[in-house]
Structure formats: C-alpha cells, structure tokens
Symmetry: C2
C-alpha cells in the first residue's frame, strides 16, 4: 500500500529515493501498493492533461499504449512462432535427408518444384535424397537403412547437444516449459532475467534444436515462455509498464494467451488458458486485451504460413459422421485412462526430478540429455509412428480415413462394391486389413515408448513442452480404442448396443474422434485444464457437435485425477522448486484461526516493532541488523502496542543510509520519527530523521479470531505479502505469505521448509 | 464474517436462532460470511464422512449436487426456450393468417404437407389463409389489404394487452429485460420474488405475447431472466444452495450463461457474457460449470429443434468471399455509428424512463403499452422489413445473396452471361436492380422507425429485450453501407482503393458481412460488451476469418461510446433504479481517503457503539431503537475505543427478543456481555445476556489513511457490506457500501440520494 499517498506526489522534496518501492530478486511484490502506484500515476496524468495540449496528447498516448503494446506483442510472438515452425520443420527433415537444389529447403519445399504430379510420388522426388542415397548411392537394402539410422542418431545427438550447451552457457532459465515459473511470476514473484532478452534468444534457438532432435517434447509450452519474454522486453518501451510490476503482469497474462494462440492457432482457447491455468490477477480489461493480442498473433502466424496450408490451426480436423450417445461409454473410458495416466505421469516425473535434484544425476545435465536423446533416437527410428514428430503423429491419428488415404492407419480391406459402383459409400465401416493390423501393433509399442520416455524427458535442461507428448499418448490410446470399437461394430452389428445406429454399410464410428477425445483426456489429466482445453479442441474442429464427447472425457479425466491428488503437473513443479505460490483454485479447508498461523508463536520472543517517535537511528539499525524480517510494524508505544503503520526493511535501510550520507547532522543518536508532527525535544539534541514518507499508513490487519480460510482469501484476492494481526485493537503478530504456505504444507503433512522464498 | 466461527459449530447449545444470519429484503449480503458458512458446512460434512458409509455417501452426493443442479438448469432452460420459440413463432404467424387444417400449426408447419414443390410456392400453400382470404374470400385488392392490416393491429393490441395485464396482475417483476436487476442480485443484493416461480411463469407467457405482438423488442435478454428463475427455483432442491446466498449466486451466474447460450445457440459466448457482463463473483469452478450448463441447454434446445433446421445457432451465416484490409475503413465507420447510436439510445431511453418515473405517464402503464403497440403495428405493417419479426429481419440482412435468392435484397440485375454460360461466377458483384433500390428505401425508413420506437419501447411494463432491436438497427445500417460499397466498387473498380482486389467479375464485397459487423457494433455500443459479443458472433459464423472486422467494429464502438460516458444501458438502468451496485469494471480515480468517506462526518455525533460488558439490555434496546444503522461495532470501553467486534442489528434484535421470551430472569437491567469470560458482579444482579455467539469477531478494518481506491477494491473483491475505520488502533468510524456509492455519486456530480438501498 502506498504510504506516501496521492497528496505526497505534489511535494517535490519527498520524491522517492531510488530503490525505495522496488523489490529484491526472489521476493514477492505487493499488489496493492503497485496498483495504487499506477492509479496515482494515472491520476497525475489526467490532472495534467487539463492544463496543456501536449499533456493531453501524452494522456491519450498513455491510454492507448496498452493496446499498442498488445499489438507489438502479438506481432513479435506470431513472427517468432512462425520462424520456430519453419526452422524446426527444416531441421527435422534434415535428420532424414537433404535437398540437392539447396540444403535450406525442407522436404516439402524441395519437392514442390518437382514434376511428379501424384501426391505420393511427390513425396519421393529426386531432388530430395536420404543420407543413404547421398552417401551410398542407393536407398534400398539393409546397409542403406543402417546408414540412415546412424545419421538419424547423429543429428539427434548433435541437435540435443547444441541445445543443452547453449542453455547451459548463456541462459539457464531457458530450460523446461517455463509455465510453472510463469505462473509463479504472475502470482507476484520476482525472478530477474527469467523473461529477459538472453532467455528469449536462447530459448528460441534451443527450442528449435530440441524439437528437431526428436526428443519426446513439444514446442507449445515453451512458446508461452517465448511470448512472455517478448512481452516483458517490449514492456521496457513504455514507462507505464516498465516501472510497475502489477501492470507488467497484466501484459504477461495476455502474453500467455498469445503463446497458446500461436501454438494451436486457437485465440479464444488461448485466452481461456491464460484465465484458467496461468493467470493470477486477470481483470476484464486484460481479458479484452489478451483476446486482441491473441488474434493479432494468430493472424501474423497465418500470414507467415509455416504449415503451407493457410490453416490457422495446428491440427485441422474435419469429421463426417455424428457420434452416438452409446459412444459416451468409450469416451468416458478414455477419460479414466487420461486421468490415471495424468496421475501416474505426475508422480513418476516428480519422483524422477526429485532424484535429479538430490542425487549426482543432476550434476551431469549434458550427459543426461545426450543419453536420453540417443536412447530416444535408437528406439524411435525403427517404428514409423515414433520416428515422425509428435505433431505429425497427432495429425495422422486425428485424421478421418477417406478411401484414397494411403496411410497405414487407413489400411482397411476395400469393400467389394467399389469396383462396380464407383466410390459407393466409401466412408462406411470396413474390416481391418493387414496394413491396419501392422499399424495397431506399431501404435501399441509407440504408446509404451512414449509413456516411458516422456517421464524422463520432461524436466531436462532443454526447452521442453508437455502438451504434444501428453496428447500423443492420449491420441494413440484413443485411436486404438476407436479402431477396436469400429471392428467390434463391424463384426457384431447385430448386438443390442449397435442396433439402430450402426448397421452394416453405415459410417458410424470415427476412430479419429476417439484419438481426439483421448488426446484431450490425457492432456487434461496431466495439466488439469478443463474449459480452455475443450475450447482449444473446439477451435481445432470448428464444430460444436463434438464438444460433448470432449467435455465428458475431460471432466472424467479431471475427476479421476483429482481423486488421487489435486495438483496438476505445473503446480507439482512449482512445489518441487519451493516457489511461494498461493493456489487460487484450491479452497483452504482447515479450521485454524489467524492466531494459530501468525508469528511470533506462543513462547517465541515478542514481535520486533518500531515505535513512532521513541527510537534512535542506532536502535533502529540494531533491530534491523539482528533480525531478518522484511518489514516492521510501527506502533504508538511499546506499552500500548497500538498500530500506526508498517515499514519495509529495504526502504528503511535505503532511507537511513541516504540520510546519513546526504542529510547534515544525522547521527546514531538522532531520533527516528514516523509522526506527522515532530515531538518536542531539548534544543541540543541532534536533528530528527523523518521517515513518514516511507511508512505505509494503511497496513492490512485482521483480528486474531479471523478464520484462516478468510485470511487466505484476502491474501489471494488482494495479493498481499503480509498482514498484521490484532486483538482488541492491539498489535499481536504478523502473517506473511510464506507463513501461510508453510502452514498449508504442515496441514498436508509436507515439509514446511520446502517453501524457500518470501 | 462468521463470528460464531468453526469451533462453535460443535456446541449444540449455540445453534443459531432462526433468523440469525439471514437478510432482509432489499439488503446486501455479506459475501465473506456466506462463503465462510459454506466452508464450515463443507468441513463438517467432510469430517463426518470419515465416520460412516452413509455420511460418506452424503458427502459424495453433496459434492456432485452442483453438477446435477447445472444439468437440471440446462435441461429446464433449454426446454423453456424451445417452448418460447415455438409459441412465439406460432403467434407471430397468427397475426397474418391461420392454418385451415389446424389453427395450432404455424405457417411453415401448415405448408409442410402441401404438394407444392417449389420453395416459393410452398410459402403460399392453400391450407394457410390470410385473414382477408378467410373473411372476404380473396387475398387481392385494397380491401383485403386493409382487412389484413386491421387484423394485424388487432392481434398486436390483443397480445400486448394480455402481456401487460398478466404482468400487472401476477408478477410485476416480470417486466423489462431483467438483466440490470440480475446484475445487482449477483453483486449481492436481495430482491425477494424477483427470481420466483410466479415471475418465471408469467415472464415465460408474457414474453411470448410481447414478442408476438410485434413490439420492437427481443426475447434474448428476458431469456437470461427466465434461466435465472429456473436456477433459483431448482436451488431449493439442494440444501447447499438453498441456504447459502453466495453459493446460490454462483448458480445464478451459470444460469445467465445458459440464458445467452439458448438465446443465440452460443455456449462459449454465453459463458463469456456471464463473466464479462453480469457476474460479480465468478470463480473458476463456476466457469467450468457454466460451460457445462450452457452446453446442456444448447443441446436440449437443439433436440427440440424450434427453428426446424437443426441448427444450434439463431442466425446461421456462411460467407464465401474473404474481406480485404481496405474494408476495415467502412467497418470502423460502422463502429463509430454503433458507438454513437449506443450513446444516443442510452441517453434518450434513460431520459424517457426518468420521465415515466416522475410524471403521470408512469401511472398508466397499460395504456402506454397499448398506444405503443398500436403505433408500432400501424407504422410497421406497410413496410415489409418492419412487419417481419426482428430475428427474421436480421437473418435476412445477414444473408449472403446467391443467384437464386428471391429476396428483394438480392434484386440485382442478372449478369448477361448467365444465360450463355450457365451459372458462371454467380456470386460476383452485380449492379443493383430495381428490387434492391426499393429494398434500400424501405430499409432506410425501417432504420429510422426502429431507432425511434425502440427508445420508447424498452422499459415498458412488458418483458422486453434489447439485443434484437439493437442488432436490427446495426444490421440495417451495415447492409445499407455494404450495398453502397458494393455498388461503388462495381461502378468504380478502377479506383485506387479497389484496384487489385475488386476487379469486375470478382466477388469482393459481401453486404451481409457489413450487416453483421453493424449489428455487433450497435449491440456493443448499447451494452458495452466486447469479448463476449465477438465470441457470440464467431459462434454464429463459425470462422475465425471474420473475427477481425467484428473486433475492429466492436472496439471502435466501445471507445466512441465510452468517450461520452462509460455506462452501458444496464448500468444506466441500475443507477436509475438506485440499486446499490458497485461496478467492478470502472476504476475509482479520485484521491480521497477513507477518513473522507466514513461516518460520522466531522461535526456529526459520535459513532453509535456497544461496549463489550458495560451495557444493559435496556440501554442496548434504546440505542438500537434510536438509530437506524444495520450494525454496531462493539468496543472494549467507551474511553479506549478499542475494537472487539461487530454485531448486526437484525441478529441483535432477534437474540434479545428470544432471550426475553425464553431465558429466565433476563430483564431490562440485565447486563449484555460480549466477552468470553463473564465479569464479576454482585450476586443479587439479574443474570447476564451472553451474546458472543452473534458477535462477528473478525470485522474488516482499514486505517483512516487508506486511499479510497484501495478501500473500494477491498469492497469489490471481498464483497463487503461495511468496513470499520481505525486510527492508531482506535475505532474512528464506519464505511458502508452505500457510503461509497454516495461518495462516488457526489464525485460524479450526481445526486447522492439516488442510491436508495443498503
């Protein structure tokens, strides 16, 4: 809370000292003070705007600067995402071969100019040569296969090595998905450099390398981090956002929406993701601006057109058959699978990450990445479904088979009547052919492989997102179940459950839809997203038709997963890292009172307080030196303990230091005065040190009888750092955010010392 | 805040008296207390669930009751909306004629069985006879026209008369759109009966009548009211929601989403509408449940299929041509028009409503409705665009002309090459023909008519929504501009601005899109919705393609309108009615402090306080009788003014009354004691009246130096009724929600006494 108050701004003598009102690294901001500062600033500009035209223009430009910033964030993030897509596409193709007319072409571009007209032939145009062809001159035979295999592993190792080296050398913050840290930052924590320019540059480059290396990770989560870095850097262009931590966090919330918007081409889903999953303070104004930025970014990305199909969305799906009510049963089954997988994945991944932190494994991050990359490449290459990138795999699994589809997944036996009646009801359910059976086996193996490798991949020291691997696991499971259902219906269409809607020759079960539902369920289980997930999926399909299956699966998945523990993967990682994050979604259910949580505890020494006009500079300095508290309450007198205000340690130190240097006559024996009027003193005494300007005159207080659920609510909603506790008007103690988190950890039988920061 | 605290629940002797903890009509609830009550309840159930299987089942059913309630709300609201659609359709058609095979068929159903095969002929099937045909035997000639005209006016008068009579006689709360009141209720105000069963029944019936009468009003706003009534009634089935005002408001927020979902067939837009426009407290859990309920309702409505086309959305639009960047200029122009129209409409409508309140006009609501209905029918009939219902008009205006379209709006001159080359580029821009010119004239007249009549219609004592009339105004303006642009491009395709994208023979300008953009702009200007409006429109078109024009127009519209006053129509009506509504969107920008707003003011008599153990029953009763405050602070003693707690007038009166009746020996001289331990007293003194159980031991306090912007923030975010003001630990005064609203009115140079309720 801004103790200097609005009226003080007019007084030029009380201009804040540099450093007063700022925060240290790894500390929590005071939302109320920041917002109050911004309102003061706004008020000043509005008042001035009545005086001159220049000031009026300044006021107008100030009002629109938020929109301009959003526009820039959208453009920059969209452009970067486009660049990342193009580069990752090229490098991924490079693992398989090279384009002879120019090594900078990817496979598709290389073959565009080819004369081969049919679609399948174009895939094997002469300009594009696999490494075996280039080296041995032939693409057939076991030797060529081994050459390709080795080259694949070589590139995977090279890319992952470059990625981890760059991260280690230039920007250690660039690793991981970044979403846990961004959640923490948005809740008011300060991690300097986490959203800086080095992080941005290195994360962008290493993200491309990590994705191309074939590791089981996605670019969607890190794109959120990239977008937030863009926003944070662009904030420096505008005083309004540069100087105010709360305002900057509004922009970062919007940037999170932008990140998801460019990742999936789903602007509305992105905004809801930011609202539901990452943001802490999300006023309506931010909703509107996020939406704007998300749209700008989506359209920027589309005009770059990295997928070459001028689609906005990452996975464009179009289904033909409606779903039937009975199908809800398998969809719910997929939901249960997704929930269980989510729980298992979180438990396993956290156990593995804790092991990395506590054992010697964590000392060799480069070797770890190389080993995992080698392992991934070695196991992934033989299976075509793991060899392709995660996004390609999901696309293929979502795909609805048409008759002309050459994919193995569509390897159904051709119906007999095609040759006679032309195309016929080409989309009707058909018996599985040999191709499909092979595909199913490969998919089953891919499922096991993906499930295991993702657990050890997420959390390594390279940029790594979770969305794509989670979705891939779900999509494989869904497709398997979908094909199973389809075959069941084909061979048993006289069963009661199929009668009436799935007669022979009808197109009743769409395995692609099952894959989609499974993907949503698994992603939901891992992240515990709900509405935003369904809306993202809705934007991918574009039809309200399929929302109900998606919703049934996500709901089931969340309920099942929540039954085993309410934390999503991001919250679990936040806790693992000991960040001071007060979850807004979970209710505080214990019945403790403020008096049970506050410091000092019974038996502890009394609370360290300052008096408003009874302490000398030396006494204050001693008190500050001998304690480690971030702030001190100021009381009328030690006897009455009536609260006057609250002063922060940092502000106090800076002010005393400054006064000793600049102000004449301030010595150790000078009286520190927080009152408005100076007290009477003998004339020979040294001058006062007046510190009312750094005193927060409106500290938050609760009574000792306040239930903790209400106190937690106040902390969350107002974004407090600390709150004073009174009893019958007398100061009794203090509760900080850290105290609350420790108390909550204690209730949950966890180690309260796992909360590391203030 | 729940003074009795969680530990008290165990004590059976301190079970709350009936009435304690409830609220009076036209009062504001205490959100913190309600939420705390619910948490206590939840805690109790969870604790019990460990003891027995029955209790465990109870706990599980309690956890799922919210979802069940949502399902029921969705089903009921969807079914009602379907019924309303069908009935309104039938009655609207009845104004023009009757079906001979059964008067309960509407025009479309009547002609379904007809043998006429072409689409246009089916519209004039022999089974359906206009009133002139039925009465005079012919449908041609001036006489038949006059008969039809008179019958049209007759039905309009009859329907509107029935509507207003029913509202007057049975449910006065059923009039208007209901959204302003629902906003107020959701913010914590209590209006008993506003969401009751009579309101539901009467609003449903009269809504049908009002819409069918041809008045310039829509059913979309009232559908929100209907959905909220459903939710409120269904809440009575579940203790959890029946007894808790805060929990019930969560359900009502979801119901508002349901209302918009069924009105437009836009579930996501509905949820965002609830979030952006009506809700006050909208936790994430509610987001997810709203979404569920909105989907259930949308699918219920679709399975009833009132539009007969199995479309989910109200206006299904499909455009073929993309838009060009240059077109943003006319779109922004439409935004400016929408904004100006919004401002003008709000000003004019509020002025008219104030006139109705203050002059004798308000005493004759029935005559007013009849006069307006007669006027509307009289002026609307001759113009085919005003004769059709608002929804039909908008549908027609949104429509993209195809070559076969018989509508007057598509009366272009046929291109010469059609007869030669078949269909050709049938959708290319074409010169306007005679039919289109006629249509343009009629539309211009319809625009003026709609603009004027809507101002006096909204606010009459019949159910009346604003969405459709506002959209109609915008759609007409947009279509006019669109056709203008199209003709401009056709005749001047060599102009610089058209060169390159609008060559002859190209299909470059879609007047239907202009109509849509105009509709969004006008609706945005009137209601100041932004994201939700764009998302609703997105759901209607189903393509992200057209979001940018819509967004440009809505943004412009909001900015233009906000420049003249930040209030939307709903907020303006809330203020007109003097409801205590603390707008969450507007920032409090004045620099006053808590001490400037609190009571008592300087010079006023001191604050009425109780002491914790120094007053007799008689003294307390006198104090309560001689003041009108809703609550009293309790202090340690009059001298120290140290705050102990806060007690509500209602609870105090009920408790004293109860004690006097039930408890032996309580007389006027009995000491009222709020302390935990009873004070020493001479043995012959009458027994104490112990009232600690009704004392709120954790009242909110701020210091006198707290800036008002922070105080307002606390009130909004925590949902407070009152807050005590202290100075250096001593009680100084009190700030209530009403005080804040009065202060805000004063700052805005409005009459502070216009705030009527607590």
């Amino acid at each position: 809370m801004n103790g200097s108050g609005p009226t003080k701004l007019v007084d030029p003598l009380e201009d804040p000292l540099p450093g007063v009102g700022t925060y240290e690294d790894f500390n929590t901001i005071d939302w109320v003070r920041e917002k109050s500062k911004d309102r003061d600033r706004h008020r000043e500009i509005t008042n001035k705007s009545r005086q001159s035209t220049v000031a009026l223009l300044h006021s107008v430009s100030d009002a629109f600067s938020g929109w301009l910033l959003m526009l820039l964030v959208g453009l920059m993030a969209g452009a970067l995402a486009g660049g990342i897509d193009i580069a990752a596409h090229w490098l991924t193709d490079l693992k398989g071969g090279v384009c002879l007319i120019g090594f900078w072409f990817n496979h598709e571009h290389c073959c565009w100019t080819s004369n081969e007209t049919t679609f399948q032939e174009r895939d094997r145009c002469p300009q594009w040569q696999s490494w075996a062809e280039l080296i041995t001159g032939t693409s057939e035979g076991a030797f060529a296969y081994i050459v390709n295999y080795l080259m694949y592993i070589f590139w995977a190792l090279l890319f992952s090595f470059l990625a981890v080296i760059l991260v280690r050398a230039f920007a250690p913050y660039a690793c991981g998905s970044g979403i846990p840290e961004i959640k923490t930052i948005l809740s008011g924590f300060i991690i300097r450099g986490y959203l800086g320019k080095w992080t941005l540059i290195i994360k962008t480059i290493t993200l491309v390398l990590a994705v191309s290396s074939g590791l089981s990770l996605g670019k969607e989560g890190p794109l959120v981090h990239v977008a937030c870095c863009c926003a944070n850097i662009l904030c420096h262009l505008f005083t309004k956002y540069r100087k105010n931590e709360a305002k900057r966090r509004e922009v970062l919330s919007a940037a999170a929406a932008v990140g998801v918007s460019v990742a999936f081409g789903a602007p509305i889903g992105g905004v809801l993701f930011s609202l539901e999953e990452v943001s802490y303070y999300f006023p309506l104004k931010t909703l509107w601006r996020s939406f704007f930025a998300a749209l700008v970014a989506a359209f920027t990305l589309r005009s770059i057109n990295p997928f070459g199909n001028s689609r906005l969305v990452l996975f464009y799906v179009e289904f033909h058959a409606p779903w039937h009510l009975i199908e809800l049963a398998p969809f719910i089954l997929l939901g249960i699978f997704g929930g269980l997988w989510g729980v298992l994945f979180i438990k396993a991944n956290i156990a593995w990450c804790r092991r990395r932190k506590s054992t010697r494994l964590g000392h060799y991050p480069i070797i770890e990445v190389l080993v995992v990359a080698a392992l991934t490449a070695l196991l992934a290459y033989p299976n075509s479904y793991t060899r392709m990138s995660g996004a390609e795999l999901i696309s293929e699994l979502f795909n609805d088979c048409s008759l002309l589809d050459s994919s193995q997944l569509c390897g159904y036996k051709q119906p007999a009547n095609v040759s006679e009646t032309g195309v016929g009801n080409s989309l009707a359910d058909r018996p599985a052919g040999e191709g499909l059976y092979t595909a199913l086996w490969q998919l089953a193996l891919a499922l096991i492989f993906k499930m295991l490798i993702t657990v050890i991949t997420f959390g390594m020291k390279v940029p790594s997102g979770l969305f794509i691997p989670s979705m891939a696991v779900g999509a494989i499971a869904g497709r398997l179940l979908g094909v199973g259902m389809e075959q069941l219906a084909y061979y048993n269409h006289d069963w009661l459950i199929f009668r009436g809607w799935c007669s022979p020759g009808a197109d009743c079960i769409t395995p692609g839809l099952y894959a989609m539902v499974g993907a949503a369920a698994c992603l939901g289980g891992v992240t515990r997203m709900t509405v935003s997930l369904v809306v993202i999926m809705f934007e991918l399909t574009g039809g309200l038709e399929y929302i109900v299956p998606l919703m049934a699966a996500t709901m089931t998945s969340k309920w099942v997963a929540d039954a085993f523990g309410r934390e999503g993967i991001y919250e679990a990682h936040i806790r693992l890292n000991g960040y001071p994050f007060l979850e807004a979604k979970e209710e505080f259910e214990h019945s403790s009172l403020a008096v049970d949580v506050m410091r000092p505890r019974r038996g502890d020494p009394a609370l360290a307080v300052l008096t408003q006009d009874g302490m000398t500079v030396e006494e204050v300095e001693n008190l500050v030196e001998n304690t480690h508290y971030s702030g001190f309450p100021v009381v009328v007198s030690q006897e009455s303990q009536r609260l006057v205000g609250f002063v922060l340690r940092r502000d106090l130190l800076i002010s005393i230091d400054n006064a000793r240097k600049r102000q004449d006559g301030i010595v150790g024996a000078s009286l520190v005065v927080f009152t408005e009027h100076t007290p009477l003193q003998p004339p020979e005494a040294p001058p006062f040190l007046r510190l009312r300007s750094i005193l927060d005159l409106s500290p938050f207080t609760v009574t000792d009888h306040t239930p903790m659920d209400i106190t937690v609510d106040i902390f969350r909603k107002l974004g407090l750092r600390q709150c004073l506790v009174t009893h019958n008007g007398r100061l009794l103690g203090i509760i900080t955010k850290k105290d609350i988190l420790k108390h909550m950890a204690q209730i949950a039988n966890r180690d309260p010392d796992s909360i590391l920061f203030n």
